[in-house]
């Protein structure tokens, strides 16, 4: 089942008189339970495409659909679409340093309107799912890189997203921990039937991919 469709996506930035085109007609689909990697050199448009697919950035042209519904509108509407459908995992983890692992996940659950003990137990279950229930009360500064990324994944799952978008999720991890994280990603995608797109430079990520997309100069290569 197609979860996300992008058709002829373009993105152009205007800086003064200079116009820079980053994406030049990108079309792609993400299917439920599918793991796709997006590879390309720096400046090829990977992160821009990821932001557009994640409803953070609006495209200059083309059409984006999630569950066949066109994505458009003002920032509050896009935030609501993100909250319902998209989970992000970042290279820098981007955990809240003042919240412990459990609270980091719980806060994302709070944002979708679930409060109190229900949110806390849901957060505990998600930490358990990523194998980190014994570190629930640790602040990010007391967690290793791999543990931080597991918390970030648990947080990304808080909204029960149909699409998980990961930006270089193993870039700051050593290879053994990176392999564990990739295994966790694959397991989450297959077991829970989520579409997973991983932007990466790391060739090892291919090992879990069902499909590999290459992007160069803002165009996907066949």
């Amino acid at each position: 089942m197609t979860v996300l469709e992008a058709r002829d996506i373009t993105k152009t930035y205007q800086e003064g008189a200079q116009e820079t085109t980053v994406l030049r007609g990108v079309s792609m689909d993400l299917l439920a339970g599918e793991v796709v990697t997006l590879e390309g050199p720096s400046g090829s448009g990977k992160t821009t495409l990821l932001q557009i697919l994640g409803c953070i950035l609006s495209p200059s042209g083309g059409e984006l659909r999630i569950h066949e519904n066109p994505v458009a509108g003002h920032s509050a509407h896009l935030a609501a679409i993100r909250r319902r459908n998209i989970g992000f995992v970042f290279q820098q983890f981007n955990l809240f340093p003042s919240l412990n692992a459990l609270e980091n996940v719980q806060y994302a659950i709070n944002l979708k309107g679930v409060k109190g003990s229900a949110a806390k137990s849901e957060a505990g279950a998600l930490l358990d799912a990523v194998g980190l229930s014994d570190r629930a009360n640790y602040l990010p500064r007391d967690l290793s890189g791999g543990q931080k990324q597991r918390v970030a994944i648990a947080r990304a799952l808080a909204c029960k997203p149909s699409v998980l978008l990961a930006d270089e999720p193993t870039a700051n991890l050593d290879s053994a921990v990176g392999a564990q994280i990739l295994e966790l990603f694959r397991d989450l995608a297959k077991r829970e039937n989520r579409a997973l797109l991983i932007v990466t430079h790391d060739p090892k990520v291919r090992s879990i991919a069902d499909r590999v997309l290459q992007i160069h100069d803002g165009r996907l290569r066949p």
């Binding site: 970042f90 981007n94 909204c159």
Partner: protein, 375 residues
């Protein structure tokens, strides 16, 4: 609900302490300035507010209770005959010199009545019987006069306008705005001591209305009968006396400037620290947006931080203001902070802290959630 706002605040305890201390300083400054202002003003009208009079008849354009002008004492008869007047008596308020045992002289403001008890003056008697003043050459001094006149005791003598008067008692809390010692003597005695000025004259007529009397109607009738005098209710006269000191001494402007300064300090500290904190956590706010939070969610965080800073700063500032009360009272000053003023300052603190957070609101409204992808 995870309290991200509080957690961010507490994560940097030094900054949080500075924010709360800034608000507390501003609140303490504002409260103490307003308290001192009210304290000073309370010295301007204690005799007006404590005297058992409903109306005060003054000479035309008398600016305040201490700066009285004389008019014929027989006018009191015209007032007594006005329907609705239960009682009316003459009151002299005048300045005279008091000779001190060391030969120096001090000015004093003297309240002179025939029957003090009937008008609740003085309203607090520390020792002695106020009725003794009717017996002749006696004087009641207020306890606060010791600062200017030196120590004195019941039975001591003091010379006023070259008249030797025996101290028959002490009152309390009878002060004047100018800090001139307040004393009480018999009405006829006062006239005899300064006949050039006071013979056959009075400074005021105190009026007590009959139960159910129409205040406006009685005032109008007294005005009609005494066209060259003014008539005020107790509140009107107190307000006029206070307004004189506020306008003519600059204490009103001084209090306003001090309050303005306090508010400015508070706003600048809160705005600056919240803004710096927001900028340092801008990536976290970007993350909030990236994981589905809206601008409203971030506004709530900033508003809550401002509210926490306001609440803690206010409580601390209120404590500081009350803590300095004994030291201020030791300087013979009063710090009066009515509950209504404290409530207004509390609400003002909250509103100003929220207004300070507006600077940060504008910044986070434009946070690009895409910045979470940058390393």
């Amino acid at each position: 609900m995870v309290d991200l706002a509080l957690k961010i605040l507490l994560h940097d305890k030094l900054r949080f302490t500075i924010t709360v201390a800034g608000v507390a300083f501003a609140v303490a400054l504002v409260l103490s300035q307003i308290g001192l202002f009210f304290g000073l003003l309370s010295n301007a009208t204690p005799t007006i507010r404590n005297a058992n009079a409903d109306l005060w008849v003054t000479s035309h354009n008398t600016p305040n209770v201490d700066f009285a002008h004389e008019f014929p004492e027989t006018y009191v008869n015209r007032v007594r005959s006005v329907p609705g007047v239960a009682k009316a008596d003459n009151l002299i308020v005048t300045f005279m010199n008091i000779s001190l045992p060391n030969g120096a002289e001090e000015g004093g403001v003297f309240y002179a009545l025939d029957d003090f008890s009937a008008w609740n003056l003085p309203w607090r008697v520390k020792e002695g019987n106020i009725q003794d003043l009717r017996r002749g050459e006696f004087i009641f001094l207020d306890e606060s006069a010791k600062r200017r006149l030196g120590d004195f005791a019941l039975g001591d003598f003091r010379e006023v306008q070259h008249n030797r008067l025996r101290i028959a008692g002490q009152s309390q809390d009878a002060k004047s705005f100018t800090t001139t010692p307040v004393s009480f003597i018999d009405f006829r005695r006062a006239q005899e001591m300064n006949p050039d000025l006071l013979k056959g004259k009075t400074s005021y007529i105190l009026v007590k209305l009959a139960p159910g009397a129409d205040v406006k109607a009685v005032k109008a009738e007294i005005r009609r009968r005494l066209p060259f005098n003014d008539v005020y209710t107790t509140n009107e006269w107190a307000t006029k006396s206070e307004a004189y000191w506020i306008k003519n001494t600059g204490i009103g402007l001084n209090a306003f400037l001090a309050v303005f300064l306090g508010v400015l300090v508070g706003v600048v500290v809160v705005a600056q620290t919240l803004y710096t904190s927001t900028m340092e956590h801008i990536k976290e706010f970007g993350t909030v947006k990236a994981i589905g939070g809206s601008n409203a969610d971030i506004y709530r965080i900033l508003a809550r931080q401002a509210t926490i800073a306001a609440a803690l700063g206010f409580i601390l500032g209120l404590g500081l203001a009350f803590a300095q009360k004994p030291a201020i009272e030791a300087m013979a000053l009063k710090l009066i902070m009515p509950a209504s003023t404290i409530a207004v300052v509390a609400i003002g603190t909250l509103l100003l802290c929220l207004a300070s957070a507006m600077v940060s609101f504008r910044k986070v409204a434009n946070v690009d959630p895409g910045l979470v992808f940058r390393s």
